[in-house]
Chain length 331, copies 2
DNA sequence: GGGGAGTGTGAGAGCGCTCTCTGGAAGAAT
DNA sequence: ATTCTTCCAGAGAGCGCTCTCACACTCCCC
């Protein structure tokens, strides 16, 4: 049991040549049925599994793809279920394609070089980058080196790189319109970092709706952390005490904004309505539960994987987002 | 640039044989300094990176280890930052050892066979299993097949399998003692599932402290989900309305227990003190913030990786847990 | 000064597989 | 019956690397 059987052994047992055994194992149709069966039986009996290293060596394929989380993403990894969703989605699709998923969290130092070296030397067939920042140089570098690469999130500058993005702007628009439909008049926003596409698009969506209805925007910028949500909310309240609604660019900041509102004597949703973005699990546990915009993270992972495996005809995909109405925006 | 250089090329450029080039690349000391420098220069100039497949083929090592999340774990993956911590820790250590991390989320069907086939055939040098259930057959199977395997969490039945565990019992004891020190008299518990070591040990810790102080235990059992925390809390209140403290076996259930207390007219911490376990991020956002027991998840990942890489002398490790006191257990 | 020990380098086999190329058998066409 | 085509199986090269073994050389001791 210790020594794993080789193709040679399988061939010998089936009474054929190694070449024929290989053909059967790789599903060639040009093999006589009875021989095919004999080989399959031998494979079964011996518990043969192809040696991936030997196969890769000759095919020059690795049958594995890398999922890279650049450093900034890694830091928030623990807090943000978005990444868990992407991992699950990618994993499902990879598994279906019978390939391996190599996870790379780029460390503090030299992470890029490591990924670059690794990926440009045929160790993987493609790279999925869960990049948060549009300025990330890695996707471009890899693409230029001829490595199939797909990004989660649209690059901030127009580019031909393949990506899968969420409809951030559309989600933001729906959220803000929802606030207007609920009769809110002074709608502020806590925006995300403006070097991330999610931050940019969500702010744009907010602005577009307000502009259409001739209202002025009231904006404070956070960095997607809870603490920044708290201080942005305080600032907003100081700037304009009459605010009766706030669209927060992610749930984490919304979680930070709510205590700030409470401390300022505002009730949610009675005095101020709050909408978040992401639909993290915690959003449904807050008091009151948070209205938010849900993102299809698992689906995103699947599409990323399919795209890098070249199973997808489109190379730039936008996934829909969905408004989830809860008590934080009740009448 | 397209064709990657081979060792042969490096050797030719450095004016040595392939064997010597190989020695230098693999850090053998038995090479003359000037030759070593020449080879290193050639490596640098050519941008040479060893072909892992070729190397694996001859060394019979894969230079990669698998991190397996069995199905039940995968399901809660998104909610539980414990797994994110383990991934990060494993990843750090793997990176340091210059190996690869292959992530396997075992799918709904046939996941075990897939992992088993994959791991028993030399594709990885070892397997880390983030198993939640002590009854999981996978670790035993792999160990019997001669694959180095390490589990997160002690098996429920005594075994010689290597593991890294948290001091769940100790953490629970500290939590319950803390409640007693704060003058609480009737201390109940919401226990976790009794087929998981974390559930078992935390309940045992609770019971041990109560027994020592001659109090009776008041127990409801949940399944680590938020909803189960809510219903367990209701049941506890129905069983004994005089309860003035509850030790909840994980934060998620504690998050569910708090609204149940509020609905029953109990204030936290004034009427009932609450302690959780895990220290998930949400624990510090609750109203009031939750006293809980912190687990060193990243450290756990590191130790798991070190153990499977055989860098650790001990094969059964228990990591300390730490009580984090917040407002939910104030006087 | 010759034999042994020690050290550094090269030659060459071979890891397990895929894939091209060749050969032989069988069927179709002349 | 002969040739041409078609089809399937086998022989063999070679992917890029490591590692054993043999060999050449230097150094030292008797």
């Amino acid at each position: 049991m210790r020594a794993r059987p080789t193709l040679e052994k399988v061939a010998a047992r089936a009474g054929v040549s190694r070449a024929t055994a290989s053909r059967v194992v790789n599903g060639s149709t040009r093999v006589a049925p009875q021989i095919r069966d004999a080989v399959n039986r031998a494979v079964e009996e011996l518990g043969y599994v192809p040696n991936q290293a030997a196969r890769s060596l000759v095919t020059q394929r690795a049958d594995s793809i890398a999922l890279v989380f650049p450093e900034p993403a890694t830091r928030v990894f623990s807090d943000d279920p978005t990444f868990a969703g992407i991992i699950r989605g990618v994993s499902m699709e990879i598994e279906e394609a019978d390939k391996q998923l190599v996870l790379m969290l780029t460390g503090m130092t030299g992470g890029y070089q490591r990924v670059e070296r690794y990926a440009t030397n045929g160790h993987v067939d493609g790279v999925v980058i869960a990049s948060m920042h549009g300025t990330d140089p890695l996707p471009g570098i890899l693409a230029r080196r001829g490595v199939p690469v797909v990004c989660s999130g649209r690059p901030t500058v127009p580019s031909s790189l393949p990506y899968v993005d969420m409809d951030n702007a559309g989600g933001a628009e729906r959220a803000v319109r929802h606030l207007m439909e609920r009769g809110r008049r002074r709608i502020a926003t806590i925006a995300g970092p403006q070097d991330m596409i999610a931050g940019i698009d969500r702010l744009n969506g907010y602005r577009a709706v307000l502009r259409d209805s001739d209202r002025r925007s009231i904006v404070a910028v956070g960095d997607f952390t809870r603490e920044s949500g708290t201080s942005a909310m305080r600032q907003l309240l100081a700037d304009d005490p009459e605010i009766d609604a706030v669209f927060v660019a992610n749930d984490m900041m919304a979680l930070g904004a709510m205590p700030a509102l409470r401390q300022a004597g505002r009730r949610v949703p009675d005095d101020v309505a709050v909408v978040g973005f992401d639909d993290i699990p915690a959003a449904s546990y807050t008091e009151p539960p948070l209205t938010t915009v849900r993102q299809p993270t698992v689906e995103m992972g699947r599409r990323l994987a399919r795209m890098v495996l070249d199973l997808e005809e489109k190379t730039q995909v936008m996934l829909p987002t969905e408004l989830v109405v809860r008590e934080s925006t009740a009448f």
